[in-house]
């Protein structure tokens, strides 16, 4: 068979709306943001190449605290969600009585926007929320516990885990459902107990799915705006929140661009690290 040119005119025309959109809008806006972070194409003031915006962000304690906080939230949320979702995914591996209904209930947060989700959870964990009220009435605590706007950010992590559980669950369930029953039976037959099967069969075989889930969760939580603004600590703000403050309150569009570039670069770095790690895990297979 003669070798065909993989990109005929028709192919290019058909790809154009999709790929062209991404290349044009996303590509141009990323380029602009990067240029703005160096003082070019400024929306306000003069345009001039300079490192000063990078300097002022990298030397500001607030910005670095925000970066640290966002990294912490990204990491804890991704680990936390996977830790909660993995046992659930194992539980849903086999159909059983009532599991259909349970599965639907778990998926509810998937259809609730992040901001709304944050407000819903607010009712539960706020200072005068349901949990504190119940614990007080039961006499288990003498004064309400601060679970929201806590300085560490546990409130944010809790909402991230709850909100993204169904999404991560879907990824993990598809990873686990590809593991054959025979493989599990073989391991049991060879003497493996529950924990051995979990650590030697389920987790390694589901690893590609686990990594994908963790990376997507990290990106979501790292760049989060709504949940942190509702449930996050008074200080520091997340990088995305700081970006908004910079641009809208301080009118520092170039510094906001620097923060935007930091988010993008961090995301790319994480994806790169993931693919390296995936290669290591998969080996030469």
């Amino acid at each position: 068979m003669a070798k065909k040119d993989p990109y005929s005119l028709t192919t290019i025309l058909m790809l154009l709306p999709g790929v062209g959109f991404i290349v044009f809008f996303i590509g141009s806006s990323i380029t602009l943001t990067v240029l703005q972070s160096f003082g070019l194409y400024s929306l306000t003031g003069e345009s001039q190449f300079t490192f000063s915006f990078w300097k002022s962000i990298l030397l500001s304690r607030e910005a670095l605290d925000s970066l640290k906080f966002s990294l912490k939230m990204g990491l804890l949320s991704s680990v936390g969600t996977v830790l909660v979702a993995f046992p659930l995914a194992l539980f849903f591996r086999k159909a059983g009585a009532g599991k259909g209904l349970l599965g639907s209930i778990i998926k509810i947060p998937l259809f609730i926007p992040a901001l709304v989700a944050a407000f819903l959870i607010l009712n539960l964990i706020s200072y005068h929320g349901l949990i504190n009220t119940v614990l007080m009435r039961l006499g288990l605590i003498s004064e309400p516990k601060r679970m929201l706007n806590d300085s560490f950010g546990w409130g944010v992590v809790t909402i991230q885990v709850w909100k993204n559980l169904p999404f991560v669950l879907l990824i993990l369930m598809s990873a686990i459902s590809s593991i054959r029953d025979d493989t599990i039976d073989a391991a049991r037959n060879l003497g493996a107990g529950y924990w051995s099967i979990l650590f030697r069969i389920y987790i390694p075989l589901a690893m590609p799915g686990i990594l994908v889930a963790m990376i997507l969760m990290f990106i979501k939580a790292f760049g989060d705006f709504p949940i942190t603004s509702v449930a996050g600590p008074i200080y520091p703000a997340s990088v995305a929140m700081r970006m908004q403050t910079m641009a809208h309150i301080f009118q520092e569009w170039n510094q906001a661009a620097v923060l935007g570039v930091i988010i993008i670069v961090t995301t790319f770095f994480v994806v790169w690290a993931y693919s390296r790690f995936a290669e290591l895990v998969q080996g030469d297979n």
């Binding site: 054959r180 025979d182 493989t183 039976d185 073989a186 049991r188 003497g191 297979n285």
Partner: protein
Amino acid sequence: MATLRLKNLVKKFDEVVAVDHINLDVADGEFVTLLGPSGCGKTTTLRTIAGFYYPDEGEVYFGDRIMNNVPPNKRDTAMCFQSYALFPHMTVWDNISFGLKMRKIPQSEQKKRIEKAMEMLSLEDLGKRKPGQLSGGQQQRVALARSIVTEPQALLFDEPLSNLDAKLRVQVRVEIREMQKRLGITAIYVTHDQDEALAISDRIVIMNQGRIEQLGDPYTIYRKPETRFVAGFIGLANIFDAEVAAVTGNICTMNTSFGQIVIDATGQELPAPGDTVYLSFRPEDMKIRDRESANQITGIVDQVVFMGDVTDLFIEVKGFKMRAQSDDEAKISPGDRVTFGVSPRAFSILRR
């Protein structure tokens, strides 16, 4: 190594009785095959022995010990699956060592056993490969190595050869049998392939609808089937109705739709005159040059099918279709009128 006993074993799935009061004693080092059509309960029986299913009634014994509630990982059996069920993320070496690691066998002993098993199954050069890089035959040999290194009480095979091509199937089944004999491990083998069962087993259990139809060595199962099902399931058989006319010693005279025949029922349960029974005999028992036998059957050749080593003949005998075999030197063509001799010893009397 151990003896294995199933006592009144029953396994139900909801209302469906998959295994229906099975009794079976397997001697130490014996190779027993469970043979039957799909849905006959053979795999369920095997999985109950392995511990993947718990029996609803009856007992599973290894030696004198009741195993009913012992989980599969504590049973010390080793199973070979139809899908091989190798761990796709582990190398051949790690696959084989899995059972040894679970049993916390010391490293040096592990190495010794794995190397021995790999040598036995000619897997020496494949230790670092992953299952995905192996052919079906190689994967099956890795699965075998993985089951024998743990020196289990019983080897369990669940149609291990059905994913291999015909030639390889014969080769691997010889390997399985030789290995089992050498190691002296009790083996239970499930298959729906009668050739495999006849070739490999010390004894065969023919199962049908959750029950045992017949239990015996391959020769007895083939030559002396006891039920209509067994006669029809194993090999080719001519099966027909007969009425017992007379019984003299072990010699029975029978009336059939194509005339009177004489049977030597030595070793079989004798019927009484007036009983109606099924009779069966094998196509290869119709001897075209046999003029001596008491039973001479004449019919018209309907079809001749050349099969290579033998020629299959379809013959119409007074409205009854029979199958016979001949060598090609007989030069028979459709429409020929031929007479066959069938020895009185060739017939089996089947329970109704």
